[in-house]
């Protein structure tokens, strides 16, 4: 199942330092970037207790305004959540900073999409052990009751990873709406995200024996959530030709797409360091040639592919010396 409590921007948990730092390019908290995110989640009034037809086939762009297309960025899962005792604003605010606690969710069911769906599924096909029963699980709150209903459209079945779109559902006895179309996250400006870079980190341009990057001293991610080092699995290095750090900040949501060159180093679970000398260009066997280009900005990022937060855990601009 994918427990998308998927919250878009959820954090990755806590860890502590041990025998690190080991590297000679030691990132500190002041080198990491800071994030600010706001979610404006569309609300969709529908009939109460109804077996709604949920469709996602018209989704074009995701929260980051990237195209939704198979196979890498398709909607593979749709999650239904009932959250009692939290208003929509509270849910929205918690999601934005990756702090929505699953312990607040009462009902979670999901639908793994398939070609036979033709982009739509009935609520009654959503399941997690048992199927969703709309007549009892999706009803208008009574007076004084606070119930928030959500749909999450995600890519991949790893929980919490890859949210593409989301919506609040509002069951109303007076409504006759039986069909729900996933609102396009980009055109609805669901996600407002701003990044602020920290201080650049110095790195020797030519001495490849001193490219050992170490992030052990950073305790929190860009949202201030504790870092779970066990979940970090990749160090990435990007070169952005003819771009300044300020321009990169402004294009942060496209930070992979706008890279001129993009290199990766796999990271073992729990490790807090990696050597750029071991990097390869993404998707190829071409090794990182060194900082041969200087007409732009270099940045290094620590990623967690299984974290619910899509943004890098750590990102810092490199200052070549």
């Amino acid at each position: 199942m994918s427990l998308p409590l998927a919250m878009l921007l959820a954090a990755c948990g806590g860890g502590t330092k041990s025998e690190w730092p080991k590297g000679n390019v030691v990132l500190e908290g002041t080198n990491n970037y800071m994030s600010q995110a706001t979610l404006l989640i569309p609300k969709i009034p529908t009939a109460s207790g109804a077996d709604l037809t949920v469709c996602w086939n018209d989704l074009m762009k995701d929260l980051l305004c990237h195209n939704i297309e198979a196979p890498s960025n398709a909607v593979d899962n749709v999650g239904f959540l009932q959250i009692p005792n939290m208003t929509q604003d509270q849910v929205r605010a918690s999601l934005a900073v990756g702090q929505l606690d699953e312990n607040r969710v009462k009902i979670y069911r999901e639908h793994h999409t398939a070609a036979a769906d033709n982009g739509c599924a009935k609520l009654s096909t959503f399941m997690l052990g048992t199927v969703l029963n709309p007549t009892t699980d999706y009803v208008e709150p009574v007076a004084g009751q606070t119930l928030t209903y959500m749909l999450l459209f995600t890519s991949g079945t790893t929980p919490g990873v890859g949210s593409k779109a989301m919506a609040f559902l509002e069951p109303m006895a007076a409504s006759t709406v039986m069909d729900v179309a996933a609102p396009d996250a980009c055109s609805n400006s669901v996600l407002d995200f701003h990044a602020t870079f920290g201080a650049p980190i110095n790195i020797p341009k030519d001495d490849n024996t001193k490219w050992h990057v170490d992030w052990s001293q950073i305790e929190n991610d860009s949202f201030g959530n504790p870092i779970n080092f066990a979940k970090i699995d990749m160090l990435q290095l990007g070169f952005y030709q003819n771009m300044t750090a300020t321009q990169l900040e402004a294009n942060f949501k496209d930070i992979e797409q706008v890279a001129t060159k993009f290199y990766e180093v796999p990271v073992a679970p729990g490790a807090r360091d990696a050597d750029l000398a071991n990097a390869f260009e993404k998707g190829t066997t071409t090794p990182f040639p060194g900082f041969t280009q200087t007409d732009g900005t270099w940045a290094v990022a620590v990623r967690c592919s299984k974290c619910q937060i899509p943004a890098p855990v750590v990102l810092s601009v490199l200052q070549l010396q």
Binding site: A10, G13, S18, Q99, E102, L128, G129, T130, P159, P269
Partner: protein, 492 residues
């Protein structure tokens, strides 16, 4: 975010077994064919190498070198039928109504246990008032219990396997035939201590999956412990030739602390893995801590003598075991963090409530020398319950026990004594109503936290308790033991 999935568990629960020769709790039955034939009423007699366990002072009576080989074969039946209940996890259930459900009876499928060996060498090394011994033996008990994953017991336990070996060295001294004292030092090795149960990984509020959960997970610990020290001291006193008293005790307040590995695996394999880490590093080492009881036994033996030959004897023993030391099984994860589907739960130190109580056992047994070469024996016992009914569990038969035994020994070729014994041990049936049950489902990621009274997070049917109780039902346990032993006496 803490999706807590649960990893709880259990492991702690882990369990079993143990060392010296107590009879209840972790243990079951008597070790050694001659003692077993008397239902364990042997503390005053203790006249073979198994004295290292029953009463080391008895070794002072040996007259030369001897070796004892033995084994016990056992059949351990354990049946459980969970009480009918309401299925609060059913999709049609509300906070106030749920459909009823019944459960079929489940049984231990690992009933046969072929090994419970012992080997002891004893000698007085030419010192007429002394005796010494050393050996290796298995603590008598049920080493393995297996129940079905889909059975009604599954939130209590799925399976456990425990292998306990005791290395012993003993010394004893006597003053004429009037009294003797002795002591045994014991090195307890636990080559294997495995335990598994099902936990509910659900983090959702107002939820109770007391019958099954889509987030059911198998939590398992596998571990071992290379060394735990224990000791037994004993004495006997024979004021007149026909009357003998014995007293022995296990006097070290020891605990077995295993080095174990914890794993948590969703029953639905499509859900992915539960990753365990400590300080951000993948780790799964945990410690299972099991307190061992202190024990005292007192015996009085009447010897019917014809000149110097003992025609028959009758012995009455009373044993007291401090099982109240086992207040809980502890799984110390040393702050392991479990991560499932992006969410985390700090496992911390997990205690599984047992609330065991001290036990008293009364054992009556005796031998009859039919001829100079053949002896027959028999015995019976009663043992009070180690676990209050409310904490009944399938991991150990905890109710009151009754049983009896018969056996015999045959002396052959002057040096060889072959002994055999059959022992029956039956737990008095336990029938536990759900209202009285106190073993709760393990739901480590639960949104319902102490004091478990907030209806915004806890299921309204289970307010005031951590989760649904899952040990109501009927319990029946019976064991059959067949003990064989060969005692070889060297010299004249």
């Amino acid at each position: 975010m803490r999706f807590s999935v649960a990893l709880t568990t259990l492991a702690a629960a882990a369990t079993l077994a143990a060392p010296a020769l107590a009879d209840g709790g972790y243990y079951g039955g008597a070790q050694g064919a001659r003692a077993a034939g008397r239902s364990g009423a042997f503390v005053a007699r203790a006249d073979d190498p198994t004295a290292v366990l029953y009463n080391p002072a008895g070794l002072a009576g040996i007259s030369g070198p001897m070796i004892l080989f033995g084994n016990r074969f056992s059949y351990n039946g354990y049946d459980y039928k969970r009480a009918d209940t309401l299925n609060w996890g059913d999709p049609t259930a509300t906070q106030t109504m749920a459909p009823a459900i019944s459960f079929p009876q489940v049984s231990n499928s690992a009933t046969a246990q072929p090994l419970d060996p012992l080997f002891v060498y004893a000698n007085n090394f030419g010192l007429p008032n002394w005796g010494f011994a050393g050996g290796v033996l298995a603590a008598p008990g049920t080493s393995r219990l297996d129940f079905p994953v889909g059975g009604g017991q599954r939130y209590m336990m799925l399976s456990r396997e425990a292998v306990f070996l005791d290395g012993v060295v003993s010394a004893a001294w006597k003053h004429h035939d009037t009294f003797g004292v002795g002591a045994t030092a014991m090195w307890i090795v636990v080559p294997r201590l495995d335990y598994s149960l099902l936990i509910d990984g659900t983090p959702f509020v107002q939820t109770a999956n007391n019958v099954s959960s889509p987030l059911d997970m198998i939590a398992q610990t596998k571990g071992w412990d290379p060394f735990t020290f224990n000791a037994i001291v004993g004495a006997w006193y024979r004021p007149v030739p026909f009357l003998q008293f014995g007293v022995a005790g296990q006097v070290v307040p020891a605990k077995v602390k295993t080095r174990s590995k914890l794993s948590v695996t969703p029953l639905d394999t499509t859900m992915g893995e539960v990753a365990l880490a400590r300080d951000g590093f993948p780790k799964n080492d945990v410690n299972v801590i099991l307190p061992l009881p202190l024990m005292a036994r007192l015996g009085a033996r009447y010897r019917h003598l014809s000149v110097a030959r003992e025609i028959f004897d009758v012995e009455l023993d009373v044993e007291y075991e401090t099982w109240s030391r086992v207040n809980e099984f502890v799984l110390d994860t040393n702050n392991l963090v479990g991560t499932f589907q992006g969410a985390e739960v700090n496992l911390g130190r997990i205690g599984i409530a047992k609330h065991w109580q001290d036990t008293v056992a009364v054992k009556l047994g005796g031998d009859v020398a039919v001829t100079e070469r053949l002896a027959l024996r028999a015995g019976g016992f009663y043992e009070s319950a180690v676990a209050p009914n409310a904490y009944a569990n399938v991991d150990f038969p905890g109710g009151a026990m009754v049983g009896g035994s018969v056996g015999g020994s045959l002396l052959m070729y002057g040096h060889f004594e072959v002994s055999i014994a059959y022992q029956l041990r039956k737990m008095l049936d336990i029938n536990l109503a759900e209202a009285d049950a106190r073993v709760y489902q393990q739901v480590p990621a639960s949104a319902c936290t102490p004091p478990y009274t907030d209806p915004n997070f806890c299921h309204t049917q289970f307010l005031g308790q951590p989760s649904p109780q899952i040990n109501a039902g009927s319990y029946r346990a019976i064991s059959h033991y067949l003990s064989l032993a060969l005692l070889v006496r060297f010299g004249s």
